[in-house]
Subunit: 336 residues, 2 copies
């Protein structure tokens, strides 16, 4: 992370700014040209769940997706930080069944679904969460399917040395225009390797994902398949009421974006060959979607009806324990 | 909030810094002299729950505390953002009963207890939280007791125009060396007015609270009573496993500190006549206690055995869904 961050959003309460979120933005085209920025477009952080769309490439290129007959919904789920709603759990189970694996093979750990009504109901009924409810269960199921296709053991599939993880690092590196050894690795919230990248490199990967000109035919096909799957099944990329899903729905798939933990968001605009990455320096998710909304507006990428459809994300309200609105979070920056 | 914040802490994952928390620190003595700082010591934010120790003054000065016979534990609870553990709920109920009020008079709203085991048990047993469980129920009970002592209606006790709130604003202003009209007001999470203050002014109020030299005899008595009550009953200031309580316990009450929402912490060191305020610019609590620990160490205020007793707060671990440690939060600043 770079020290030269810029103000991104203000937390307003009554007459004053109570807190400030800073960050970095990089907007690049599919050739890697930096078009706009804020803060330090070369700030390094972990790609976290934004990498999932790139990590899906080997699942397609290996032939696993076609051999096992994954549907659009299942491919979208492999790219997802999903809500743990019933449809997501069913799709994860289906991926595993098609690949000859089981829920017990998932090593991602368990947490209650992100989707509050589902989580509330499970708690009321005393139902414990399983690894299928983990927001990363699609990605992990995809990893198990790749291991099955490669004919390798799944026992240590989360290890950086495992063939599945090597292929994923290779794909991320290629899409970001780097060598694998240039990418520092950490451990993600779900236990697998996570990729340290400058945000302009991650933006390049997203620009290429949407406009794979000049990539190999096999890679370009896989990119197009991922974008097409998410366009057709956006509810599997995140879920009810989630910005990622709503952005793809509101724009008819013209803009596809993916959140990541620690305040990260990556966008591809395939028709424009654009990639955009925003990192909230302090990792706060509460400033993420209003800032993304503002960036897309400043870039002229959202039509009026799309802005209306996404209006609830524009200025999140701050409420107190009584439910009264006492403030809001307001994006406050100008892309250069 | 000022734009000239300084790096306070880094969120480390594997080999890199994934996120950064910035902020401001002011250290002043009871005469208002700035001794040390970081970022902008005049950065303005809301005092939030750090104001509770100052807001307790009118409850004592009015004679409400002595007339109603509040115990040390009850006075500490009036200053608290408590855990909602059984003893906290009992103490809030006792304050109300002594003042002739009821739980139904509390307008703070309800939330599940901060104390996770208590909250978990209530959820399992289908027990809904009440206003008594609200972390601010002590402060609100104190407000109702002040209204009773003043002989005024409690119906609109949260309104800025209510005599209770006017007295509290007056006390905060006096302790901070300001006129009431210099203090912008917002609405707190519990519905009552909240005070906009530069952090060096809040630090002055805390320094004076601990060393009330030159204040009126009545004010000085009230200050000493508050400090004595918290020293004798630190578990009522926050609760099990909470930094505020543990800091007072570990130092035998030599250092008393109070957290506030949006990444705020205020400390008084009565014997030294010192006040210290830290604001995490982005409002994150996760960086708050490690940064306070580091500031106290740099100021030479923590003995070796106290550092050991508080060691768990020094570098909070970042864990993944499997419970594996994958990083940590590290304070990274040097007080000037």
């Amino acid at each position: 992370m770079s020290a030269s961050s810029a103000v991104i959003a203000r937390v307003i309460r009554g007459p004053i700014t109570e807190s400030i979120h800073r960050g970095h933005i990089a907007v690049v085209d599919h050739t890697g040209r930096l078009l706009h920025s804020l803060g330090d477009p070369q700030a390094v952080t972990f790609a976290r769940s934004t990498a999932k769309l790139i990590q899906a490439l080997p699942v397609l290129e290996s032939g696993a997706a076609s051999d096992f007959g994954f549907t659009d919904a299942e491919i979208a789920l492999i790219c997802a930080s999903h809500n743990g709603e019933d449809r997501h759990v069913r799709a994860a189970r289906s991926i595993l069944a098609k690949a000859g694996a089981e829920a017990d093979d998932l090593q991602c750990g368990s947490h209650y679904p992100f989707h509050k009504p589902t989580s509330r109901q499970m708690r009321q009924e005393g139902e414990a969460p399983t690894p299928l409810h983990n927001n990363c269960s699609g990605k992990h199921s995809g990893m198990l399917s790749l291991a099955a296709k490669l004919g390798v053991s799944t026992e240590h599939y989360m290890s950086p040395e495992h063939p599945v993880q090597r292929q994923m690092l290779q794909a991320v590196a290629e899409m970001a225009g780097l060598a694998p050894e240039e990418i520092p690795l950490g451990v993600d919230g779900c236990g697998v390797p996570v990729f340290g990248l400058a945000i302009d490199r991650l933006a390049l990967a997203y620009a290429r994902l949407g406009k794979p000109d000049g990539l190999s035919a096999e890679r370009a096909d896989a990119c197009r398949r991922i974008i097409a799957a998410i366009r057709r099944e956006p509810s599997y990329l995140a879920g009810s009421d989630r910005f990622d899903t709503r952005l793809a729905e509101a724009t008819g798939g013209r803009i596809i974006g993916k959140m990541g933990a620690e305040g990260l968001f990556a966008v591809t605009v395939p028709d424009e060959g654009l990639g955009l990455v925003l990192k909230i320096e302090d990792g706060a998710q509460r400033a993420l979607y209003c800032a993304m909304f503002e960036a897309l507006v400043q870039l002229g990428l959202l039509h009026t009806d799309e802005m209306e459809a996404l209006a609830e994300f524009r200025e999140p309200k701050v409420t107190n324990w009584q439910g009264t609105v006492v403030g809001s979070i307001q994006a406050d920056f100008k892309l250069i």
